[in-house]
């Protein structure tokens, strides 16, 4: 007799538990506003007349200037609001956030800040809208930046910022020793030989040699600066050429001889910057962002350093091109607004503002000789030279695999100086040949 009653009670209990779950789910569902996800088809012919609210996704806006600019736009265009979605500062995480949405064919991010090395992958998978020349004008833009946003001769993104490497050096110490800023590796070594004996605890040179994207940049620079190339003119790998091996050998010798401190194998941008600012190294390869920080009041090297183009084997070196562009998601709605907003963001005054407030290098070539800007940022002419001379990293759809293969090859001989650069690059040549078809 007791049995059925118990059963009934248990059913009731189970049901109420279920109901509880359901209500919990419902109530929380309304609390969180699911972002607008457009289900627009990835049509080839984009509708450039559709306007309305859009979302822009990029990494952290550390200066807050981007937010200010978007606020201004939103004030002027109440019917075409832009929502800023701030992603992690980590490039890998930004990429995976964008890919996740693309895989789900979600147009949640209307406009994405695409790193130059992602262009091929995003374009080839059909995640980006092709940008027609009559709507997006790249006249006056840095050629290298436009190239990096192009895939198979079609423009898939609008360059928004550029980046090139600079050689930071301790001007005070070099002047004291009576040496000029070096333009070749040998000159740099000679400068160190003159300066370092008087400086205890100081090493000659530092860069980014931890195993991550920064190593790919540093390695590519060494190879290109020695006259080699990762990919030849025809797009085929040439990474085990004598010149390329000479580039990697120079890096390895740096670790062997102590020109580069051993701990530099763990350095990323910040560790190397701090090493330069605390007087651990005489020369530093880094991006323009260091300039403002090293000039700041609390910096020990403020007023004591200067910048030069990075050195090479026989003459000035070849920087690796960095930077970002605005890409429009193939799945997003309101592409018309996206187009208008991107072109508004790329107006000279906005780019100037970005440089002044966020030290982000512009893509308009004329700004590099703007007297007001040059007066404030002494590095601009040098940076322009660096970017004009810069080479992009390999364009590859499977860029993640390509860069890891490069890092494997570059890291091994630096981490363990007994390993032969030739062998490492022969392996890399074989890997790249299968990865880049």
């Amino acid at each position: 007799m007791t049995q059925p009653r118990t059963t009934r009670r248990v059913i009731a209990a189970a049901l109420s538990v279920g109901a509880l779950l359901a209500t919990a789910a419902c109530s929380s569902g309304t609390a969180a506003s699911p972002a607008a996800s457009g289900s627009a088809s990835a049509a080839t012919g984009a509708n450039w007349d559709e306007t309305g609210p859009i979302t822009y996704a990029q990494g952290k806006d550390t200066s807050g200037n981007l937010k200010a600019q978007i606020d201004q736009w939103n004030k002027e265009n109440p019917n075409e609001q832009v929502t800023f979605r701030e992603l992690s500062d980590n490039a890998d995480e930004q990429r995976s956030e964008m890919i996740k949405r693309a895989q789900a064919k979600s147009g949640e991010f209307t406009v994405m800040s695409v790193d130059v090395v992602w262009t091929s992958e995003f374009a080839a998978n059909g995640w980006l809208t092709e940008l027609p020349a009559d709507k997006f004008n790249t006249t006056g833009f840095l050629k290298a930046a436009v190239d990096s946003a192009t895939y198979f001769n079609k423009l898939y993104a609008m360059p928004s910022s550029s980046d090139g490497a600079l050689l930071y050096y301790r001007k005070d110490l070099l002047d004291k020793a009576g040496v000029q800023a070096p333009t070749t590796w040998d000159e740099m070594q000679q400068a160190c030989d003159k300066v370092l004996p008087g400086q205890s605890g100081m090493s000659c040179y530092g860069g980014q040699f931890q195993k991550y994207e920064g190593l790919t940049c540093n390695f590519a620079e060494a190879v290109n600066s020695a006259g080699g190339a990762i990919l030849g003119e025809d797009g085929k790998p040439t990474v085990n050429s004598a010149e390329a091996v000479a580039g990697l050998t120079w890096m390895q010798n740096g670790f062997k001889s102590g020109m580069i401190p051993k701990e530099a194998i763990t350095w990323k941008e910040e560790e190397s910057r701090q090493a330069f600012q605390t007087g651990k190294i005489l020369f530093l390869r880094n991006w323009p962002y260091v300039y403002n920080l090293a000039s700041a009041k609390d910096s020990k090297v403020a007023g004591k350093f200067d910048v030069a183009p990075i050195p090479g084997k026989t003459g000035p070196g070849v920087s690796t091109l960095g930077g970002h562009s605005y890409g429009i998601s193939a799945f997003a709605k309101n592409k018309g607004t996206a187009m208008k907003w991107i072109n508004w963001m790329l107006r000279p005054e906005n780019q100037k503002d970005q440089l002044l407030k966020a030290s982000s290098a512009p893509v308009l070539e004329s700004l590099y000789s703007d007297p007001e800007l040059v007066a404030k940022f002494g590095y601009l002419p040098t940076l322009l030279k660096s970017i004009q001379n810069a080479k992009p990293r390999p364009k590859a759809v499977a860029y993640g695999d390509v860069t890891l293969a490069i890092q494997d090859a570059a890291y091994a001989p630096l981490n363990d100086v007994r390993k032969s650069p030739q062998t490492a690059l022969d392996d890399l040549q074989a890997k790249l040949t299968t990865l880049i078809k």
Binding site: A25, P34, A35, S37, K60, S63, D89, A104, Y289
Partner: protein, 304 residues
């Protein structure tokens, strides 16, 4: 106060009079004290480093001074800078952890009672399935669930749950529930079955016997399980990272992992450590208050 002291002294004298304290005894007790000191230092020292690092100036992030010089609470202020939305993240953590804990208890108590007390076919299979759940690599679950919750899987388009609380709570049940069932089953088993039998002899139905006799007795166990589940969910990273992708839906651990500094490339060590301290300290306080219960609970469950 004075009487208490006198009492202690008397007891100590009585103990001193015992003839046991030879050299071996002293060696043993000194070794014991050294050992205890070692354990405490071992456990606390790295955490001390976290606290010290959080109390430096933000620009001294990688300093190795053993005391912050100068000390500063700027990092703690920075944690709550509006763009971090850390307050919201802590709130999310609370919501997700509490909901998950309540749900696992509701489901888990029922299942654990059945597993501990009832006799039924396939009990071995049910137990094995629950154990197998706790063996699953999280990554295996997260990837398919992401596809489901993106509303992109044929037949499951209605499951468009990204950035909702249910997307954070329900996957978390995958490890919360086995943990809870596991612990509670062990608790229920420890309770003497005679109590229920006596209750039923007195005319209770099994359901009443459970509600009136077993549940009150198991309350400490349920409470312990709740704390352990809560902490496990609070500390989860992988699921929270996958299904909460907007700052409004980050949990505190995810928010911490996304902190950025004042400029590009900067890793704000001080702020991260400060947030780490802030996330951990409430747990530590709870753990210290309930330490006896937790130890008992962990021992009974033997899980994680």
């Amino acid at each position: 106060m004075s009487t208490a002291q006198a009492h202690v002294t008397a007891a100590e004298i009585a103990e001193l009079n015992k003839p046991k304290r030879d050299g071996k005894y002293w060696a043993g007790s000194i070794a014991g004290i050294v050992g205890m000191a070692f354990i405490i230092i071992y456990c606390i020292l790295p955490f001390y480093w976290m606290i010290v690092s959080s109390l430096r100036l933000p620009s001294d992030g990688r300093s190795t001074d053993f005391v912050p010089n100068p000390a500063s609470i700027e990092n703690y202020v920075a944690v709550f800078a509006p763009q971090n939305m850390f307050g919201q993240a802590v709130l999310n953590s609370l919501i997700v952890s509490t909901t998950t804990t309540v749900l696992t208890l509701l489901f888990g108590i029922l299942a654990a009672y059945a597993l501990a007390r009832l006799r039924f076919a396939a009990k071995g299979i049910v137990l094995s399935i629950i154990i197998a759940c706790s063996m699953f690599p999280g990554i295996t679950l997260v990837i398919p669930l992401f596809k489901l919750f993106s509303g992109n899987y044929p037949g499951f388009e209605w499951l468009n749950w990204m950035n909702t609380y249910q997307a954070l709570v329900i996957p978390t049940l995958s490890f919360g529930l086995p943990l809870c069932v596991w612990n509670l089953t062990a608790f229920f088993r420890q309770l003497p079955v005679e109590l229920e039998q006596a209750a039923m002899v007195d005319g209770c139905t099994p359901g009443q016997a459970f509600a009136k006799v077993i549940l009150p007795l198991a309350a400490p166990g349920v409470f312990t399980t709740a704390i352990i589940t809560f902490i496990a969910v609070w500390n989860d990273y992988m699921i929270a990272l996958q299904f909460g992708t907007t700052p409004e839906m980050y949990t505190s651990v995810v928010a911490l992992s996304k902190f950025t500094g004042q400029y590009g490339y900067d890793t704000p060590w001080g702020t991260i450590m400060a947030a780490g301290v802030l996330i951990t300290v409430p747990l530590l306080v709870a753990v210290l208050i309930f330490q006896r219960r937790i130890v008992a609970g962990l021992t009974a469950g033997g899980v994680k």
